[in-house]
């Protein structure tokens, strides 16, 4: 056990090299990894690219000891090491930063840092720990407030804290799993350039899983691409361009449906939000006096880093949360998100995490697809009895039309993959030809092809004159789809702009609250 007060200051013994040789891992019938070998040089900033399910996470989790690989050797600095438990990986100086934060939200930054120390004294000397951490932050390129509960930190600060914690623990090989997915472009650049400097100083080796070519081009020196559990290739970044990388990932040139946008003047206002205030789950205002108007035939994209009130806004529009103040009008009539109003005004909603927010997980695909219309003809001739046959027919038609991959209409919807749940809900919501469509992070976690298809459907709905509110954390998606862009920061609209005149720099700054 460490003697109180004697914990040595963090110190880097230099960047190690890492070689993964012949990794295979099966989950049941699925070969998640098939004989994959990757060599990461000392001091490299090494990108791991691949679609969802390509095996990137499985590979790094095997390296970190979270999974036991069926086969595979790990060489650290050319020497073979056995890693069967995360603790062993930590002792060897390997650390991992996840897409989703692992800091404990209800504890302060200081408590989190102290907790993750390998040897915690029986009685904690908070004054000493605080002093040591403050001294340490004085030597790091960025710092985070010590006594703030992690839940109250902004996303960028949380990710910085995650990385600082790894450095504090003297990890000299970091594996980052989509580290910037919740950061603004500026925040991502700040974090990544700091890490880049540390690799160039040969203090750190970094392996990063990412989908963002921009970051690969700007920061990574080597790229490894995986596809369906197999290694495609490892090449220096300078030999690759975006098209080549995309081809390596997808395996063929993407015959991406170019989203055909009809040029059309927006029609009458469908949804008007006036001075809306909404409280979050701890009772603090998440949306503050927000006013926004969406007209027929336009997509209004709400950009912003997650946690700035978008979730609460969508929940209010979907009837999952009540407003503290302000009002919503649809077609000029007050709207309180009741079922009757949604039917009358033809409102459709694709919330984020549809399995949780828009489905009953244990009900069948057909039943879930009938949730909007089960009490109307033909599913129910009189609003009392339910008829299975029409529900099943509708479901079969929608499954066909939206290419939902399901064992059948009677399979429970929780058995479907994320993309297919998304498609099933979209099919249900769009099948009624709604006048107003509320969409939140529709392509989160989907691969290229599925994302492109869902985006096409959204634009098609716009082209036929629906008003669409698109809330997304993916700025590229917002830029690609929107007619008008607003940025949400701290519950308020920080910026409004027409999409064709939008300045990406200004949007990024507004997302960061500048």
């Amino acid at each position: 056990m460490t003697v109180i007060g004697a914990a040595p200051l963090p110190r880097h013994d230099g960047a190690p090299s890492l070689e993964l040789v012949g990794f295979s891992k099966r989950f049941g019938a699925l070969a998640a990894l098939d004989d994959v070998s990757v060599k990461v040089n000392a001091g490299a900033f090494h990108a791991l690219l691949g679609e969802n399910g390509a095996g990137k996470s499985t590979l790094v989790k095997c390296a970190m000891g979270y999974y036991a690989a069926d086969e595979g050797q790990i060489l650290l600095n050319g020497r073979e090491v056995a890693i069967t438990h995360p603790r062993q990986a930590h002792e060897l100086g390997l650390g991992m930063v996840y897409q989703h934060f692992t800091l404990v939200p209800n504890m302060t930054v200081l408590e989190n840092f102290v907790l993750s120390r390998d040897h915690l004294p029986a009685v904690i000397d908070w004054a000493g720990e605080r002093r040591r951490l403050r001294d340490y932050f004085a030597t790091t390129p960025f710092a985070v407030p010590l006594d703030t509960p992690v839940a109250d930190l902004a996303a960028g600060q949380k990710q910085k804290a995650e990385i600082l914690r790894q450095l504090y623990l003297k990890r000299n090989l970091l594996i980052l799993d989509e580290p910037t997915s919740v950061l603004t472009p500026d925040e991502a650049d700040e974090v990544l350039s700091t890490l880049k400097a540390l690799t160039q100083a040969r203090q750190l080796t970094i392996v990063t899983i990412t989908h963002k070519f921009r970051e690969v081009n700007a920061f990574c020196d080597t790229v490894t691409v995986l596809r369906r559990g197999q290694l495609v290739d490892t090449r220096p970044t300078r030999d690759l361009d975006n098209d080549t990388m995309a081809e390596m990932m997808v395996g063929r040139r993407e015959n991406r449906v170019v989203v055909e946008r009809e040029t059309r003047a927006p029609g009458a206002a469908v949804l008007s939000i006036e001075g809306l205030s909404v409280a979050d789950h701890v009772g603090q205002l998440a949306v503050e006096e927000l006013s926004l108007e969406i007209r027929a035939g336009e997509i209004v994209g709400v950009a912003g880093v997650s946690g700035n009130g978008q979730r609460e806004l969508v929940e209010t529009l979907a009837g999952q949360r009540h407003a503290e103040a302000g009002r919503m009008l649809v077609h000029g009539e007050p709207y309180a998100a009741t079922r009757a109003e949604m039917v009358r005004h033809k409102i459709a909603c694709l919330p984020e995490e549809p399995l949780r927010n828009a489905c009953v997980a244990d009900m069948s695909v057909a039943e879930n697809m009938a949730l909007r219309a089960f009490d109307q003809p033909p599913a129910s001739p009189d609003g009392v009895r339910l008829k299975r046959a029409p529900m099943r027919d509708t479901a079969l038609r929608l499954i066909e039309a939206y290419r939902v991959k399901t064992p059948g209409p009677n399979a429970p919807i929780r058995a479907l993959s994320g993309g297919n749940v998304q498609r099933a809900v979209l099919a249900r919501e769009l099948s009624s030809d709604g006048d107003l469509l509320i969409v939140a992070n529709p392509c989160f976690g989907l691969d290229f092809a599925a994302a492109a298809e869902i985006r096409t459907r959204i634009v098609q709905a716009r082209n036929r004159g629906a008003a669409i509110l698109l809330v997304s954390e993916d700025l590229d998606e917002i830029l690609q789809l929107s007619d008008r862009i607003v940025v949400m920061f701290d519950g308020k609209l920080a910026l409004q702009a027409d999409a064709n005149r939008a300045d990406v720099g200004a949007i990024g700054r507004a997302m960061a609250g500048h």
């Binding site: 438990h85 995360p86 603790r87 692992t102 800091l103 404990v104 939200p105 209800n106 504890m107 408590e111 102290v114 907790l115 993750s116 390998d118 915690l120 004294p121 029986a122 009685v123 904690i124 908070w126 409280a279 979050d280 789950h281 701890v282 009772g283 949360r321 009540h322």
Partner: protein, 308 residues
Amino acid sequence: MADGGLGIWGVPLAMLAGAIRVSTPFIFVSIGECLTERSGRINLGLEGTLVMGAMSAYGVALGTDSPWLGVLVAAGVGLLMGALHAGICQLPRVNDIATGIGLMLFGTGLAFFLGKPFIQPKAPNLGAIDLGWWSDIPQVRQALQVNYLFVLGIVLAFALAWALQNTRWGMIVRLAGESVDAALAIGVSVGRVRLIATSIGGAFAGIGGAFLSLYYPGSWNEGLSSGQGLMAVALVIFARWDPVRCLWASLLFGAAGAISPALQSIGVTQGYYLFSAAPYVLTLALMIATCSPERSLRGAPGELGAVK
């Protein structure tokens, strides 16, 4: 009342005395439950543990003539009941609420079954500290008879609050309650932490039961506990999972429970049963006031199923 020297002042005095007496089992059960819940598990079975503790303490005190040995055995029985709950909850696909309700019924039923022979005989009582020696008024002297377990409960509340904040053990308990992923990431066995926390929580509840049978009311019968074990669980939520606030909340509940005997002592007998319901009404009112479907409770451990 023959002396009449106190009059209406008898009510707050009786409530103070009542708060000290009635609150003691609340303090133990709620502190135990607080510890258990901070580790991420709910133990609704503490009502059963309380009754088992009361029965076993009484039986042992009766047999050995040593009430303190009874307290010790009650703590041991509570420890075992807690460990049983934790053990069952670690099995796959087991719900801790359902298990808790099962153990509550099991505990009370078993205690009634085993406790039949102890209903009539009189066991020795736990003693009290006489803090009213300075006063000539008998009511004051009587009110300031402070039992030892009450003092122990206060010490435990502060000790637990300190330990949760300042020791490795406390931090690990909190970590297990806040985030299983984070706990696993630093190599903590969440199951073991919860086993220990639930067992100690059960031991505390057992001591609370010993108080019921060995001090106040001070005898063993089947109507001994009137839901204190369950109300203590509600009280933990009201106290926002803070041991020291559990202490204050227990005192508040104890005082509410003492309203009706206090009023009776000055001759107000109307609505006796209505006033007896005061703690229950208070529980309901507090739960309604502090809960909301749209807000999660501040301070709630992140892994606690019932408040997610």
